[in-house]
Point group: C2
């Protein structure tokens, strides 16, 4: 008579199916869910259904939003001549936290990865090209990850966009601020030396 | 304009409120939930509501079950004269996995912990005493955790039960099988020496 009662096992399986949740964590979460008060459980389920029903991609920048047009695209104070291209909505948040960037974004929702069978048509690249049809955008900042996939995506897109006559830039590579040089990998150091600046 | 859209933030907060889920994990889970197909999301929510509505405590042993009386209590092949007292439903599973124990269980759903304001009335101790009213049970095996709280609970319950004339035993302490002696803590080693057996 191993194992828990069937509905509890199903609940554990549901949690196990979530990313980075192992069997032990799934058990802990399932027991927690069972121990919740009715209104707490209802709130948990509501947050799932509400997010799933109201969150969609902004038709302009493809970032996730609950508005018709996302907060950033619809803000009159943002500089509409610069578009920062990122892989994921989390990257938008990371850049917003710097409070230094006042342009718009474009979220690709992924990167080209032939190994995983993800091509240019599987990411929101078409939407980016469509945004460049009028003359508003003057510069595209490629802020995809500095992984092989991110680099390939940045390169591919820049080859599409440059012929339109729009400036395409890439985030600077280098040693992270606050890092010990001895722990920086060789490629990063080479890029940091190549990109050295006058003091 | 930091942060995600409100419903997405609420979903992330919901996941953050779960045990051992940090902010980063909660974000990952929330994005995963948004990326699910409708039927997958429905299955996830159904597993929560179904488990919450059908899982309850067995009126005999207080283990979690979806039956009127749990599978173990209602099994005719189990030895009804022995009751193994554990803190949590997971402990029942752990002992069942040994395939060596054929008695019944009693799940306390916790342990006495004055530090956390958990007294004897907050755990399923009353239900255990009620089970001893007829003469069926001959032995109680205390299998609470070997923590301070588990020890205190075992001690407290044994003082309640022994006067009724029922044998109360405790799981043996000692070095875990397959463990290196050098990594065993002093208290465990002392207990292992005290409990030594003739070869």
């Amino acid at each position: 008579m191993e194992g828990f009662a069937a509905p509890l096992e199903e609940l554990i399986d549901s949690f196990s199916a979530l990313p980075s949740i192992g069997r032990k964590s799934a058990q802990r979460l399932a027991f927690h869910i069972l121990s919740l008060k009715d209104e707490e459980a209802e709130k948990f389920i509501n947050s799932i259904t509400k997010a799933r029903s109201s969150i969609h991609r902004c038709p302009v920048c493809c970032n996730l939003t609950d508005k018709d047009i996302c907060r950033i695209c619809s803000s009159p104070s943002r500089d509409k001549s610069t578009v920062c291209v990122v892989e994921n909505p989390k990257d938008v948040n990371a850049i917003e936290k710097t409070h230094e960037y006042n342009g718009l974004y474009h979220v690709l929702h992924g990167a080209i990865s032939p190994m995983n069978d993800i091509g240019i048509e599987d990411i929101c690249a078409k939407e980016l090209i469509l945004r460049l049809e009028d003359d508003t955008v003057k510069e595209i900042i490629m802020a995809t990850n500095t992984t092989v996939e991110g680099e390939a995506t940045a390169m591919y897109l820049s080859r599409l966009i440059k012929p339109i006559g729009i400036k395409v830039t890439r985030l600077a590579y280098g040693v992270p601020v606050g890092a010990d040089l001895e722990f920086a990998d060789e490629v990063t150091l080479v890029r940091a030396i190549e990109g050295r600046k006058d003091l």
